[in-house]
Symmetry: C2
Subunit: 362 residues, 2 copies
DNA sequence: TTGTAAGCGTTATCAT
DNA sequence: ATGATAACGCTTACAA
């Protein structure tokens, strides 16, 4: 004997990591239990039912009883529902990224969007794959954060990202990265890397310094490069000739900067000030100088960049450049949620003078 | 004359912030252009077509020409496609959260999930709304991160979160928060707050300290409370009677801790060591002591918690407790992506002895 | 290998 | 106020 149960649902598939189907109650279940149509149930649950009829209460009760949770994915397919804003950076830790992310998230969630964070680990292929994935998920916008290679090849990549995103109605926004003049449809919210370092050098020059070194990664990424240019600007302003021997290459860790400094200072005892690409490097520089018995700022002044937490608490406290990271995130977020974008923004930075810089000794 | 175009699509709706519909090409468009069925197009594009027929190439070409981007939302409805892992914390900045997030993100993206970060700003209503929203979006799991109120009311809330998530096949995972014994289905990956502070006190006792103060926020949140208990444990171990007068209340900013210390140390000059709930507080304590002309560690030793970046570079460098934040994130991530959970985990922490602690002077 | 057809869980249209 | 019904864009038996 063969028994056929008419309304037996078909076997459920179960493909991870896909959303589990058939898990909870659906709108149809609620409607059935409340003895109304799906349309009515939908209206009631979305709070867009006219008055409150008898069915109104029944629908609510049924939803409650069944533990109904509306399927946002299905809603999205109808053109309602939430879109995500994506934040793509090379790495997640680090006060600068986190602060920018915080600014963007504030705006995004205030507007009812979800906020997705992705890291690339600096891998451009991963970055491209990520943009593709995010497009598939129909994000509202992608914030591409931080430094990028300052190459034509990258510009082509970015154009590709922008094109892919545009196909799904999403926008690409660069954060903390200068606009690409050839690609005006790619938005950019940046801060004044170059002017910041320049003002640091200016400050030192005002204190009488002339032999000023620069510590940085000196690669072709935008952030290092812009900051390096700011150093050169500062020298030029003061009529000091740029001397390539006074640039110190270092990775962005305090240990790297410390060992680079040890080697450097031995060759160049005449230097009276060191300008660093980042606070992290500056901290390493300070440690190396201290260990070498060189007094800060009596013998050598040090300037950082980023004004990260705790550098004010170092001994001596660090003179550095403060950038409005949170504000950068906010502005980018505003564009991401549909605000108007009228051209690249470059937010001003501020030199915070503290104890690590002082007059050059006579 | 009335002209009716048969295949004219209906007018598109356009409700922000919902995903823009009708934007790009659909699978049907690709199939039409390639002159195959949607099924074939789907198979080819998903790379699950058998061999490579003539149509194979045509589909690829059509997709390319149309700039087709598969709709991941629609895929999700079929049970395939990516689910997100959500990371919910009170705030985004802060090295501990960011590091945990990094660990979780590593695992999540490696398994093809998206990673969504949401902040509550410490608002429990926002937290509840967020859980609801994330359930609607059919996340795979929610990582609830950091301290929570240690109250029965919170346990009820958490149970509610867990229930809502369970309805959509998702899991709730506490990170950096002890398990709730009454609610074993809520997973927990925690680290040893209590043991960490205890070992700090033990270290001080070993150096001869007896008058040891505790600086913390002293509220009913789990993290502060656990760390406070660790302080009491440490005292008890050494047979030192707990003296409530030696607890200092402070907000979690170095400025707060500094001003609290100023007031405290005047009343209690007999204290020879201060154990702090966080590194941030410890830094404030150090600054206040330094400004008051009290030498660290000669006159007073200081212990922190978290081992955040740069505390090793302070003068003196900070003795603190290092917790495996990245690992906590990884383990939580592993459960989130479907790994087995066999009971609460409490990861060990490590006391990092540096320059801020020394023997009590004779 | 390919096509047909039946979903997935919503919302919107348009009658009633 | 409510209910049929048709989308939305995709996947996948099942049949050819």
């Amino acid at each position: 004997m063969t028994t056929t149960i008419a309304d037996e649902p078909p076997a459920r598939r179960n493909a991870t990591p896909g959303p589990e189907r058939g898990g909870g109650a659906t709108l149809a279940d609620v409607a059935r239990l409340a003895d109304v149509s799906r349309a009515t149930a939908s209206r009631v649950l979305a709070g867009r039912a006219a008055g409150k009829s008898a069915s109104h209460a029944r629908v609510l009760a049924a939803a409650e009883e069944l533990g109904y949770v509306v399927n946002g994915l299905a809603r999205s397919m109808m053109g309602v529902g939430r879109r995500s804003i994506a934040f793509v950076s090379s790495i997640m830790v680090g006060p600068t990224f986190a602060t920018m992310a915080g600014g963007a998230e504030d705006i995004a969630t205030a507007k009812g969007h979800l906020f997705t964070m992705c890291t690339t680990g600096g891998d451009l292929d991963r970055e491209a794959a990520l943009i593709e994935t995010l497009s598939e998920q129909r994000v509202a916008a992608v914030l591409l954060v931080g430094s990028t290679p300052a190459t034509e090849e990258f510009e082509r990549r970015a154009q590709g990202y922008s094109d892919t995103l545009a196909r799904v109605g999403a926008r690409l926004i660069l954060c903390g990265r200068a606009a690409l003049p050839e690609h005006p449809q790619i938005a950019s919210i940046d801060y004044d890397h170059r002017g910041g370092v320049r003002s640091g050098v200016e400050h030192l020059v005002g204190l009488g310094h002339r032999r000023i070194a620069f510590v940085g990664s000196l690669d072709d990424m935008t952030t290092p490069h812009q900051r390096f240019l700011g150093y050169q600007d500062g020298l030029a302003d003061a009529g000091i000739e740029f001397d390539a021997d006074l640039t110190v290459q270092s990775g962005n860790s305090s240990d790297d900067a410390a060992s680079a400094t040890v080697a450097f200072i031995e060759r160049h005892p005449e230097v009276t000030a060191m300008v660093c690409q980042t606070d992290v490097m500056a901290v390493g520089v300070c440690r190396a100088l201290h260990d070498a018995g060189i007094a800060i700022p009596a013998q050598i002044s040090v300037v950082g960049f980023d004004d990260m937490q705790l550098v004010a608490d170092l001994t001596p406290s660090l003179t550095t450049v403060r950038a409005p990271f949170h504000r950068v995130g906010e502005l980018a977020g505003r564009i991401a949620v549909g605000g108007v974008y009228d051209g690249p923004a470059v937010l001003p930075v501020e030199l915070i003078v503290r104890g690590s810089t002082g007059p050059v000794r006579a």
